[in-house]
């Protein structure tokens, strides 16, 4: 006693790939604290609008609060402008939302993923105080260090000095991306104790959204 900490780490991994005509977001469903599991049924993907989803690992109480803040802002936007916020606008909204807590940060590792108005995939990741990064593929959370090199190798083709990186959008079909991210989460669950139970994959195209679920290690 006497050492109250307002933070906890609830683990988990989230990832996303932006394609030419799709965006694919993945997360596991394990919520843990310390050495125990709080819930095996808590996926870390949160739909924000028809075009945009949010995925986040870290301190779950902050994640829930952040989501609530974003939902309010997006609802206000609809009332003000008569239309949903675009994915790019949500991505822009993240910086002030997170940076507003610069000196008592949300302990979160968020990803915003969605489609732009032409149906092209967009992905952005942030650090806990809001620095945005825009790549074709991103991964955040406890399995990040394990899976990042894998995606660099498979999508970024960062294998040798002479290889020309294959850009994700033209080279990678949605079908291939699904297999790749599924395998990435299988691998993360093998070696990261905070990742496991189920992997949820959400594929968004102009036609609609499809959700897939696969079993992961439960130990």
């Amino acid at each position: 006693m006497g050492d109250f900490s307002p933070y906890d780490d609830n683990g988990g991994t989230v990832a996303a790939i932006a394609g030419q005509d799709y965006v694919l977001i993945a997360c596991d469903s394990r919520l843990s604290t310390g050495s125990t599991i709080l819930s095996r049924f808590t996926p870390k993907i949160y739909p924000l609008s028809k075009m945009t989803v949010f995925a986040c690992s870290g301190f779950h109480a902050d994640v829930l609060t952040l989501i609530k803040n974003l939902e309010v802002r997006m609802k206000l936007f609809i009332h003000e402008h008569g239309e949903e916020m675009s994915t790019k606008a949500v991505m822009a909204l993240m910086l002030p939302t997170l940076y507003g807590r610069r000196f008592f940060p949300f302990y979160v590792r968020p990803i915003v993923a969605g489609l732009d108005r032409d149906g092209k995939g967009l992905v952005a990741s942030y650090d806990p105080v809001g620095t945005p990064e825009f790549f074709d593929y991103v991964i955040q959370g406890s399995g990040e260090n394990l899976v990042h090199p894998f995606l660099h190798n498979q999508i970024g083709a960062k294998r040798t000095l002479s290889d020309v990186p294959v850009q994700a959008p033209p080279g990678l079909t949605l079908d291939k991306a699904v297999k790749l991210l599924k395998d990435a989460f299988l691998a993360a669950a093998e070696r990261d104790v905070y990742t496991g139970d189920t992997v949820t994959l959400v594929a968004m195209t102009a036609k609609g959204t499809e959700t897939m679920e696969y079993q992961l290690r439960r130990d």
Binding site: D8, L31, T33, T36, S39, A61, L64
Partner: protein
């Protein structure tokens, strides 16, 4: 341990506090200290979902450190006919929450618009209250299990909540030490039989408390159950469960 309570300065301060306020903004020579741990507290509570309802269970001890200060204290709160709340952690903080729930229930009744607490709305509201308290570094030292029947979806609802505001749902929930010893047992019961009936769920809940009693010095074998189904929520009277200590007779010495 909690800091020593200065009754004189507290009385003076209380004069300026709004009735529903918990903390004061009055100036004082020494900086205001927040509680750094629970005082009288309840240990683990558990919850299990069965196919058409929820069982919540808790023992009835109010501990003061390692002292069993109060032997019979209710830790299950019936909020309405759809919703029951099970508490663990600081009992004063729970009573503070209880007052707020009571007041809101009266307001809901008076407005007579058909709206009242549902398990989901109570869970969501409690999450905000605990999160806001932790964000002021003045936490409410409780974790909760919210159980009930969600009339909107027509399904049982079972959720957990920690003092930091981490909330989640699961077909089996336990707080505190229960996460270590009761949750593995409940998980096994639910996974073996996803369509639990009420009787099996009750037996499982009582056995989970028995496991806690065997291995947790704060627990006792006096307990309460709450069962929520579509029609009603019942918090049952205090009972005692059977225990067996015969394997203790097999132990001689320590090596």
């Amino acid at each position: 341990m909690a800091h020593r309570y200065d009754i004189n300065s507290a009385l003076l301060r209380d004069l300026k506090v709004p009735l529903d306020g918990r903390t004061s903004s009055s100036h004082s020579a020494t900086p205001k200290q927040h509680s750094q741990g629970p005082s009288v507290s309840g240990t683990a509570v558990i919850g299990v979902a069965f196919k058409d309802g929820i069982v919540l269970a808790a023992d009835t001890v109010g501990s003061y450190g390692t002292l069993c200060k109060i032997r019979t204290v209710p830790r299950l709160l019936k909020v309405n006919k759809n919703t029951v709340l099970a508490m663990s952690g600081d009992y004063a903080d729970f009573q503070f929450i209880e007052q707020h729930i009571g007041k809101q229930s009266i307001r809901d009744f008076n407005s007579d618009d058909g709206y009242e607490w549902s398990p989901k709305s109570l869970h969501s509201w409690l999450t905000r209250v605990l999160y806001n308290a932790r964000s002021k570094i003045d936490p409410l030292w409780n974790s909760y299990v919210v159980g009930g029947y969600e009339t909107e979806t027509n399904r049982p609802y079972l959720g957990g909540l920690t003092m930091l505001g981490i909330s989640y749902t699961s077909p089996y929930v336990a707080t505190g030490f229960g996460r270590f010893i009761a949750q593995p047992f409940l998980a096994d019961q639910v996974e073996k039989n996803p369509e639990l009936d009420e009787k099996t769920a009750r037996v499982a809940a009582i056995h989970a408390l028995r496991l806690l009693y065997y291995r947790n010095r704060e627990s006792s074998n006096k307990y309460q159950l709450a069962v929520v189904t579509k029609d009603n929520a019942v918090v049952e009277p205090v009972k005692e469960f059977e225990t067996a200590w015969d394997t203790a007779l097999m132990i001689r010495g320590y090596d």
